[in-house]
Point group: C2
Chain length 242, copies 2
């Protein structure tokens, strides 16, 4: 559950959005200064500690969020405890596209997280006023569909080695938004999260990390730190069984 909800005064909030460095990446990029100011009227800053739930998969879907810092894990569970992680959200990612009455997955902070929270009713009013916003959101939704399809291919047809390689490459491109790809990435999630994201077990994930390391494709300065020696080689590994 949400720990701290700090209402933002009109003045400070306005200031914040205008100077927000994520503005060009997030859905806010659809809005002009003037329009953004209006968004500010309905946004609240929210902070979560690592491990806290943003929402649970049957909660009424009252809010949407824009991650401003930290990482959020999305997942679905079966009654017997089997879990599928459906995604990891980073700063500038939008959370809560759901169209129905309730959320269909659980969102949990895996690091300390800050985000902008919107009441979905307010957001609906914003859509009507600024169709550009809805257009942008459709764009976001389409991108999500495309990655979901990639993930289906991964889960349905790829080997453990291909899965982990694909995953690392994804993280690499996301962690360097717009910049050139430097070869080092940080893993804020633990092995169980990775396993549940890739449809594997922790043991297989661990063994596969070891193999990639022994094959010289990656280095592991620490458990949560991966250096990619050659992104092209890893891209091969991501699409060739073995």
């Amino acid at each position: 559950m949400v720990t701290s909800i700090e209402p933002v005064t009109a003045a400070s909030a306005r200031f914040q959005c205008e100077t927000c460095e994520l503005r060009s990446h997030s859905i806010c990029s659809a809005l002009q200064d003037e329009e953004l100011r209006e968004m500010n009227q309905v946004v609240r800053q929210v902070s979560l500690d690592a491990g806290q739930i943003v929402f649970f998969e049957t909660d009424p879907a009252d809010f949407s969020f824009n991650i401003t810092s930290g990482v959020v894990r999305l997942s679905k569970m079966l009654a017997d405890g089997r879990r599928q992680v459906t995604g990891f959200l980073y700063p500038s990612d939008f959370l809560g596209l759901a169209v129905g009455k309730d959320y269909t997955q659980t969102a949990e902070a895996i690091t300390p997280v800050r985000m902008c929270r919107f009441d979905r009713k307010d957001l609906t009013r914003m859509y009507e006023k600024f169709p550009k916003l809805e257009h942008r959101l459709l764009e976001v939704a389409c991108n999500e569909i495309v990655s979901a399809q990639d993930q289906m291919l991964l889960l349905g047809r790829k080997t453990a080695r291909e899965r982990l390689s694909s995953f690392l490459l994804n993280l690499l491109s996301r962690s360097n938004l717009g910049e050139r790809l430097i070869g080092e990435i940080d893993l804020p999630m633990d092995r169980a999260d990775i396993a549940d994201y890739l449809g594997l077990t922790v043991e297989t994930v661990s063994r596969t990390f070891t193999k990639l390391r022994k094959d010289g494709l990656i280095e592991m300065p620490s458990k949560n730190r991966i250096v990619i020696r050659d992104a092209d080689d890893l891209a091969d590994a991501a699409e060739n069984p073995d």
Copy 2:
């Protein structure tokens, strides 16, 4: 490739949309009579034979479609031929949400198919004129995201038996749009399509059909015809390993 593209005269087209029985299910439900008439100016009816490609996964994404009859299979391939079927589209389904320059998957008719084809440029103009249309499309996109997540859970964590049971239940609910669930469904796709959709092999799909039949969960009057004896029992099978 598209075989027959029949331009529709303004008069006949107008008539068609107004009396289209799928109107309330498709994206057209967002539009009033007057607005729909305008959509008609930019739509073309397209017919395909079974087996024909609608578009290929690297083609420029110039068109979007509304299926009016038949079934379309969506899929992605790896270089070595492994294939993941990402979905089956039925009448009233929208095809071509892609946001990028190119399609990211292949669409192929698996039965004779008819659809309404839109030039994406025209569609963009329509969005601007009728924001309701874009709103509706966002709704469609969100639904697609939700099913994609269900499919990830299926591919990542379910057993063969659970996968096939889930699949049959999905078909059951889709093939009876809005009506009560009668227990019989038609399988327009072959075993290879099902296998590639569920992340299995044809052999496993076949064996699993046999098991479900022997367990009394389904009957198979013919290869492409399935009778669901008890939807609740099948729903159990869809979420319990074994």
